[in-house]
Symmetry: C2
Subunit: 213 residues, 2 copies
């Protein structure tokens, strides 16, 4: 069992939380995204999409954080990362996707790099871009969760799910870019409850072997 990861990668962070929640031990293979290791020939053999995370498990090589987490949940059901009802599962997946599809992709390293390099966008405007999508996306997620009406200690009920797994890395990123967070009190209260759990706390940036301040 080996996880190709980068300390600050939100997608890898999600999988680290999922593995911890399931109590699955793994070897950590750090990929230096800032140095461009993901574009090197050696890593492209691992994942031609040049992205982390990749999980080697059960003789398979899995990519895409949410697909990996669904696989873990199907093959190692306890504790579950999705609720039992189809309605609940749909709400949890929708919250996870609100981050993974609508928010995070606009703010990852390669996109900020394109804005800087190809489009010549300066740092203040790049940071404004980041904060725009982050603040809007989190506000919309908070509204979505409230409308769903199934939140408890966590986004769905009283146990962490795929949705909380996506939320936590996003809040780390939001803080790094000094995005506003006061407008999403429900999500922030859930974030704090997550971080009180070792599975989440042990997955955070500065506890990874490849972390650099």
């Amino acid at each position: 069992m080996r996880l190709y990861s980068a300390a600050r990668s939100s997608a890898a962070f999600r999988v680290r939380i999922g593995l911890n929640l399931k109590g699955i031990a793994y070897d950590y293979a750090g990929v230096d995204l800032v140095a461009g290791e993901q574009r090197g020939e050696r890593y492209r053999d691992v994942n031609p999409a040049e992205l982390v995370p990749v999980l080697d498990i059960d003789g398979l090589r899995l990519v895409q954080s949410l697909a990996i987490l669904e696989y873990l949940d199907e093959t190692r059901p306890m504790p579950p990362l999705l609720p039992a009802s189809a309605a609940g599962r749909s709400r949890v997946r929708a919250a996870a996707l609100a981050i993974a599809c609508d928010l995070h992709p606009l703010n990852n390293l390669r996109v900020l790099g394109y804005l800087r390099g190809e489009l010549g966008i300066e740092t203040p405007q790049r940071n404004a871009w980041y904060r725009h999508w982050c603040e809007q996306g989190l506000a919309q997620l908070e509204a979505q969760v409230r409308l769903g009406g199934a939140q408890g200690a966590f986004i769905e009920g009283d146990h962490p799910t795929l949705a909380d797994i996506c939320l936590v890395p996003q809040i780390f990123n939001a803080r790094r870019f000094e995005a506003r967070l006061g407008h999403v009190p429900l999500l922030m209260a859930i974030f704090e409850r997550c971080m009180a759990l070792p599975a989440f706390a042990d997955a955070q940036w500065d506890r990874q072997p490849d972390f650099r301040a």
Copy 2:
């Protein structure tokens, strides 16, 4: 059963294909994204995230195309949108997410609008942005599918899945922006096989009641 949709929305297009594959009839509620109807008070009551699609079904209001499709597959299993094995399901979800997370979000209307409005990026550079992510994302997906080694007539085996459902709307968009497609022959052959099926063909842009050329 009501689908809030927009003819050219890739996410809505995915759900239309899924409903057609399952043989589920529905009322079509067009939302005029170009006119900004999604930001109006009336639609924000439907979906505070201001996005289509939304599916009203079984007394629930579902959002996020992939969460909706997973719900349909859990509650109406035939024909399945995911294969039976955990490995196959993970490959299919990974292919779907490669489009839904890594490619499509960078190219949707609100992002192109921000590039134009807030960042003052002119049309040729916006189109280059579009084509960059589209061409790179499809190349990476083609590599991912070949590496998976489970492709048949469709991305996974010989029946359409969630992955094909995500592929087809993306190809429509790629053509609209005149992105290069000759470098992904496997995906294009699968696209043509999909479009030969009524479930896909009937879901396309110009067969929707709100389509405008």
